[in-house]
Subunit: 243 residues, 2 copies
């Protein structure tokens, strides 16, 4: 399915969030990645001006957020739910890393609504909550410090989902005009004349200078304009020499 | 190189940060992904209790943070710098998406220290700051709402870098020794002197010459030896001129 449709079908579900600032941060994170459906399960404080301040521009998402009493209420109508969790569970359900899970999440959007479920800041999700979900998902972190902020976890998952939903086009479509083979060779010949005249290069004892310069300029594809500038420079160097 | 070593060589550089809370959030984000070197360029307020509160457990990173006056000071000793930027620049330097850039960033850690550079919350990086870096990097966002929080941008880049560092490295070949930031800047300054003296460049009417040359040589990724050769050439051009 296409990108906007997939992202429109993903609910971000925050369960028992303590700090309203994190709800605002989650809304902002969602919106930067093109998600819009926010569900709040028994938030400690919502609505709250702190959430609005942190949302900075994603107030539409807060305004449309649905508040429910239990996680099962937020999962009504979904076909798939990913539980974002840091801890290994006794349940030993097979976990997935975020990147791999994102591909599956986007794929499941073809069947209907999908949920990304995040637990309380201090205690995460309960085993019962994880049990309501289809797949535990974990974000790879430093094993010595895995304390991801809730807003940051939402940001990372939404980013992975966006990346999976859209193979992004390259950021630049402006294609420079590259130099032709002859223009490149013309420049190298000009360089050789200039460094020979300046005394830097001795044709009788050439060493590796010109092959090195070829190798260096060949590492990139010189643009037409760059060749023109470089040759302009060489001409002024030659010209001054003759005075 | 192996994973922990790569992450140890990456500096997160925050330029002219307005809100100390974002510095704390960045420290926490870094630590969750196993990065530790934080550099602050002219922060509005640091140290600050708000930063410490938001770091929640990453205080060691704040305590070790280096504060400098200008971006160039934070790049001393680096071999590569990625400028995280949302805006398209007039220079139209080729940008990379974060995921692709992360592979290159981790790869460049084999040559030395590498910087991830983030600008001010409101205005981002200046063109001059981007010009000091090797590669502009962009995080794919919703085109209608690209307002990523600074801490969130740091989180995403550090995550991508960690994911790239965990991948097995490519089979190794001969690695040339690349020029450091200072060597690169020394060459650009020398080039400027030479083209000014030759009359090709008019400092009173600079046009886009030096930014274009920076952009071109940044694409090439100069090796130490190449810088030495190029400067040798410039010296003979300057010398001949004076006769």
């Amino acid at each position: 399915m296409n990108r906007p449709l997939a992202l429109d079908r993903i609910r971000v579900v925050l369960s028992r969030t303590s700090h309203p600032g994190n709800i605002g941060a989650a809304a902002r994170a969602m919106k930067t990645m093109g998600l819009s459906q926010l569900w709040l399960v028994a938030p400690e404080s919502f609505p709250d001006p702190v959430a609005e301040a942190r949302a900075s521009g994603a107030d539409d998402i807060l305004a449309a957020a649905k508040v429910v009493g239990r996680l099962s209420d937020a999962l009504v109508g979904t076909v798939f739910a990913a539980a974002v969790t840091a801890r290994r569970r006794e349940l030993s359900m097979p976990r997935r890393h975020a990147r791999e899970a994102a591909v599956e999440i986007v794929d499941r959007c073809r069947d209907g609504e999908v949920a990304l479920v995040f637990g309380n800041e201090t205690n995460g999700l309960t085993n019962e909550e994880v049990g309501l979900c289809s797949l535990p998902v974990t974000i790879p972190t430093n094993p010595d410090f895995s304390s991801l902020n809730l807003g940051a976890a939402v940001q990372l998952l939404c980013y992975e989902v966006r990346m999976a939903a859209l193979q992004p086009p390259p950021p630049d479509d402006v294609r420079p005009e590259f130099a032709t083979h002859e223009q490149f060779e013309g420049f190298i010949a000009h360089l050789e004349r200039a460094v020979t005249a300046s005394g830097f290069h001795d044709p009788a004892n050439p060493k590796r200078l010109l092959p090195r310069m070829r190798r260096m300029f060949n590492r990139i594809r010189l643009e037409k304009e760059e060749v023109a500038i470089l040759r302009g420079m060489l001409t002024t160097f030659e010209h001054h020499k003759r005075r």
